[in-house]
């Protein structure tokens, strides 16, 4: 069995003295693991950082086997993130969430494209938090928990949408919320593609998407906690918002 594809490196775990088990995200095979021999070499180790774009060939005797990779680096992305603590924590959040949420060997070509676009923006510190928020919405959509924010779930109105139902993920207007308002999640304008997309607003929106990641996606995984990397990114973003 063998295939060749391009992909994004999600993680590297040391295996023996010179090898590593890599997990990559590819458009056609989704999240896929394999052993890479010589991964700790001086030539390969610097490029095997999370987020790197790789040309990957996988080979195994049987489909079920872990198999082995040969990789060729196409471009490195981690260097664009390392100097900035917010962007670096964002890169960690992306790779950690993909490792956490995606089942192995299940193709998600649309999410792959969105992820590639997001990671290519790592050097754009000004718009990256907003791009990350959009990517997290895509992730929820891809996994079947997309938010429906087009109209109020109660009144059908498209005006005055200020809440999200924590159960259904549908928008609710102020008028439709009534006495239930305090039980609903906030719907910052940035989630509707409006507003100024300030850090504080993006952080609030991530609070809402975080609810669905925790109570729907993580809940399906025996209530495993969300990766701490995501929490660190949201904390870093909130901190930057307070400083402004």
């Amino acid at each position: 069995m063998e295939w060749r594809d391009t992909g994004i490196l999600l993680s590297t775990r040391k295996h023996g003295e010179t090898s590593a088990i890599l997990e990559v995200f590819t458009p056609e095979r989704g999240r896929h693991a394999g052993v890479l021999r010589g991964a700790t070499s001086r030539k390969l180790a610097p490029v095997l950082q999370p987020g790197a774009q790789l040309d990957i060939a996988w080979r195994a005797r049987l489909e079920d086997h872990l198999g082995s990779f040969t990789v060729e680096p196409l471009r490195s992305r981690a260097h664009a993130a390392m100097a900035d603590r917010l962007i670096l924590s964002g890169l960690n959040a992306v790779t950690a969430l993909l490792l956490f949420c995606l089942p192995e060997r299940e193709a998600h070509p649309a999410l792959y494209r969105d992820t590639e676009t997001l990671l290519d923006l790592l050097d754009r510190q000004d718009i990256w938090p907003l791009a990350y928020l959009r990517w997290e919405l895509s992730l929820l959509e891809e996994l079947g928990f997309g938010l429906d924010l087009r109209a109020c779930a109660v009144t059908g109105s498209t005006e005055g949408l200020v809440h999200v139902s924590p159960r259904t993920g549908r928008a609710v207007s102020a008028a439709g919320a009534g006495d239930w308002a305090d039980r609903l999640l906030p719907l910052p304008p940035v989630l509707l593609g409006a507003g100024s997309a300030e850090d504080a607003e993006v952080a609030a929106a991530l609070g809402t998407t975080g609810h669905f990641l925790t109570h729907h996606i993580a809940a399906e995984m025996l209530h495993k906690p969300l990766p701490v990397a995501r929490g660190r990114f949201v904390d870093a973003l909130s901190r930057r918002a307070r400083r402004k």
């Binding site: 950082q49 680096p73 260097h79 664009a80 603590r85």
Partner: protein, 197 residues
Amino acid sequence: MSSTRDIDALIDLMAKLPGLGPRSARRAVLHLIRKRALLMTPLADQMQNVASSARECVNCGNIGTADLCDICTSNKRANGQICVVEDVADLWAMERSGVFKGRYHVLGGTLSALDAVGPEDLRIPRLADRIDDEDVTEIILALNATVDGQTTAHYIADQLEHRVTLTSLAQGVPIGGELDYLDDGTISAALNARKPI
């Protein structure tokens, strides 16, 4: 009972050492047996000594044979600088260079979401205590230029901000390095850190 059982057991143990496999372990054991008086007995005695006395320095995490390592007990090293490294091997690498004259702090790893290593698993609280205890003026973050290493560096910087001067090692072209062989990330870092000549 096999007459080589003990020797086979020794080979098996040696083969577990870094850099050695079964074949090289067999060669090493054969060499030790041939140099029994000169090498094997002193080696066994020394290993016994180190096995009973080696411990981590309670202050910095370096490995020594006393509760406080030589660097922490030396007044000459108390120059107000602490170099934070991930591992004892990194400390030894820094000491090999002979350039740094301050003290060290060994974290014992880096933050890693994948391996569930959190701040509480590293010696970060002790580092914060040392700032006051040892009148530290500068913390040098000499962590690896990897995503995990730099994530840890930023975390420590967040924790110690405003308390002390924080610096980190430069990143760029290694001595003897040729641009043609460098990865794009290293070239990018080197270009961003360029300096007047």
